[in-house]
């Protein structure tokens, strides 16, 4: 095998292929990047039976062939090469990489033992890249990181009526965002439960593309999902199991809410929470005069701050974990935010609060992002 490629293009492709590789693997060949050169260019791929990354770039191929080479090592090397074309060649089981005056020799791994990469044939639909990346970031924060409940470590994708909704929860909060789904390619209804960490990486990697092509398919008993954009494809196995029906937790309508400036509330929460002990909650008192945040419960220090709030309905007090609130506030992406209070009949469980965007004090946002948060019990 022998080919020559542009350094920047190659570096970008290698870092993409390597990004999703597992840190440590029991099968060393899976730490490799598979590089295949054909007459039309070269393809790079990585795969660990769960997640695969595949990409194609243009290259001047002098001799077609396949090599398997340590992924992280190659990524380190390629990212530091001088600005000159990169020449790859195989030489008696070794791979030589030449770039300008730099020369590297790498060991190659046996290509025959490498597993077959998952192939993606039938696209299911298209999503806009920027909206998808934003939605994944907004929803992913709410996904559970606790292995006790594997189903909620994923983000649930639900396709229906030209809408893709993304849902995630860790039992303390639920985040939902809906984006456009172009199902003209075939699929108008489907669900897929994708590991949140993988999806977040996909959002970051493919979010710059104008559209992302999505495919869901069944390969002998294991379902997988594929995302393709700009000649880059990432596939991931789906999490087995049923995602809890959390969408029904959202209230249909609320007439008891407060509207606040998002930035002011974020800053006040960050300031006041400094004196809180770990895992403790902040007390938020909403009244016609505004919102007062109070941090109590620590013997060493207390803090409070008042900010403007436009309250509709009666005065109310809720106890919220600051990080959970901040996750929601940082995700609304609007100048103002609406915090709605729901009713509850259970005296041991306060009604959840709903966080939604608000373009002005009067005008609700139009982005379909909803973040439902369970308050703690009020102490005192």
């Amino acid at each position: 095998m022998r080919f020559q490629a542009n350094r920047d293009v190659l570096s970008d492709a290698v870092s993409f292929a390597v990004k999703l590789l597992p840190q440590r693997t029991t099968l060393p060949i899976l730490s490799g990047v598979l590089i295949r050169s054909t007459d039309s260019g070269i393809s790079l791929a990585s795969f660990d039976y769960e997640v695969s990354a595949q990409t194609e770039i243009a290259a001047e191929v002098q001799e077609p062939g396949v090599i398997l080479v340590s992924g992280r090592l190659l990524a380190d090397i390629v990212s530091k090469l001088p600005n000159a074309p990169v020449q790859f060649a195989t030489d008696e089981g070794k791979i030589s990489v030449d770039c300008g005056s730099a020369h590297f020799t790498l060991l190659s791994m046996p290509v025959e033992e490498y597993p077959t990469l998952p192939s993606v044939d039938q696209p299911a639909g298209l999503v806009p890249g920027d909206a998808f990346a934003e939605a994944v970031a907004q929803v992913g924060v709410a996904a559970s990181r606790d292995d006790v409940t594997p189903v909620i470590t994923g983000v649930q994708l639900e396709i229906a009526d030209n809408v893709l909704s993304l849902v995630a929860t860790d039992r303390y909060r639920v985040a939902v965002r809906e984006i456009d789904w172009d199902g003209s390619a075939g699929v108008t209804e489907a669900t897929a439960l994708v590991p949140a960490r993988t999806l977040q990486e996909i959002g970051r990697t493919l979010g710059h593309a104008s559209t992302i092509q999505v495919a869901i398919q069944n390969n002998d008993d294991r379902e997988l999902i594929a995302f393709t954009a700009d000649q880059k494809t990432v596939t991931s196995l789906l999490i087995k199991g049923n995602f809890p029906p959390v969408k029904r937790l959202f209230p249909e309508s609320v007439d008891h809410y407060a509207v606040l400036n998002t930035g002011d509330l974020i800053e006040a929460t960050r300031r006041v929470q400094i004196v809180l002990e770990r895992e403790a909650a902040l007390r938020f008192s909403f009244s016609s005069e505004g919102l007062t945040l109070e941090a109590i419960g620590s013997e060493q220090a207390q803090a409070s701050e008042s900010i403007d709030a436009l309250l509709t309905g009666q005065d109310t007090v809720v106890s919220l974990k600051p990080q959970f609130l901040l996750d929601g506030l940082s995700s609304v992406h609007s100048e103002f935010v609406r915090i709605s209070f729901t009713k509850t009949d259970n005296p041991n469980k306060p009604g959840p609060v709903l966080i939604t965007s608000q373009t002005s004090r009067e005008q609700a946002g139009s982005d379909n992002y909803k973040y439902l948060l369970q308050p703690n019990l009020l102490l005192r």
Partner: protein
């Protein structure tokens, strides 16, 4: 067990030397001969000690020591070396002796046994449709914690640990190898269940086709964490 609270200074002589100036301390003289000097802090760690085999002798102070206020000199000498722990007692504030008898030992797997009972009762935590066959299923090399059947009726062997590490995976692997020789049971799949599974153990288990299940002991016991959840 003899407990003495005394104002004393302590010196250790031998391979290493150490000195504790005059202060009030607890001196424990245990039935095995060991002597430990504790302060009112430092958790389980004595300030200084002599491990058995050793011998304790109590002597009168010499004139110079008596002049300094020492009322008795305890010398604990190690049998196998020249190491000595010397306690110069100035004033005894408390001295009592208690017969403790033989200790039953630490029951480390109390939680593990409880986990086994709870998981047997809540066997669906392994997955929908799982049914319990029995706890402590006996094999030639020891009992498997739980034998269950999955929704399709295939045998599932469960190894339960508080903290799941490599050793637990190896143990389960041995059981699985043996159980898979039994035509009544085979094929048997393994489940490694623990409150916490170390990343290396998880990697090894998954590489061997053993499924990992993390258990929430508090939730299984029905203990409310006090923090309300949405569902």
């Amino acid at each position: 067990m003899r407990l003495v609270i005394a104002r004393c200074s302590v010196d250790y002589a031998g391979r290493l030397s150490a000195h504790l100036p005059l202060a009030t301390r607890l001196i424990m003289v245990k039935a095995d001969g060991s002597v430990l000097v504790h302060s009112d802090g430092g958790s389980y760690k004595p300030l200084n000690w002599m491990s058995p085999p050793c011998s304790l002798s109590i002597a009168e102070p010499d004139a110079e020591q008596a002049e300094a206020g020492v009322s008795s000199v305890w010398t604990v000498a190690a049998k196998k070396s020249d190491d000595r722990l010397i306690v110069k007692v100035h004033e005894v504030l408390h001295d009592s002796e208690h017969e403790l008898g033989v200790d039953p030992g630490l029951v480390k797997d109390g939680v593990e046994a409880h986990l086994q009972k709870l998981l047997a009762e809540q066997i669906e935590l392994l997955g929908e449709g799982h049914t319990l066959v029995r706890r402590e299923y006996m094999t030639a090399i020891g009992p498997v914690d739980i034998l269950a059947r999955d929704a399709k009726g295939a045998a599932v062997a469960v190894e339960l640990k508080r903290r799941g590490d490599i050793d637990g995976v190896e143990q389960l692997t041995r059981y699985l190898e043996l159980m898979n020789r039994d035509p009544h049971l085979a094929p048997v799949r393994g489940v490694f269940a623990a409150q916490e599974i170390k990343p290396q153990a998880r990697r090894l288990a998954e590489d061997r086709g053993i499924r990992c299940v993390v258990l929430d002991y508090e939730a299984m016991k029905g203990v409310d964490s006090g923090v309300p959840t949405l569902f």
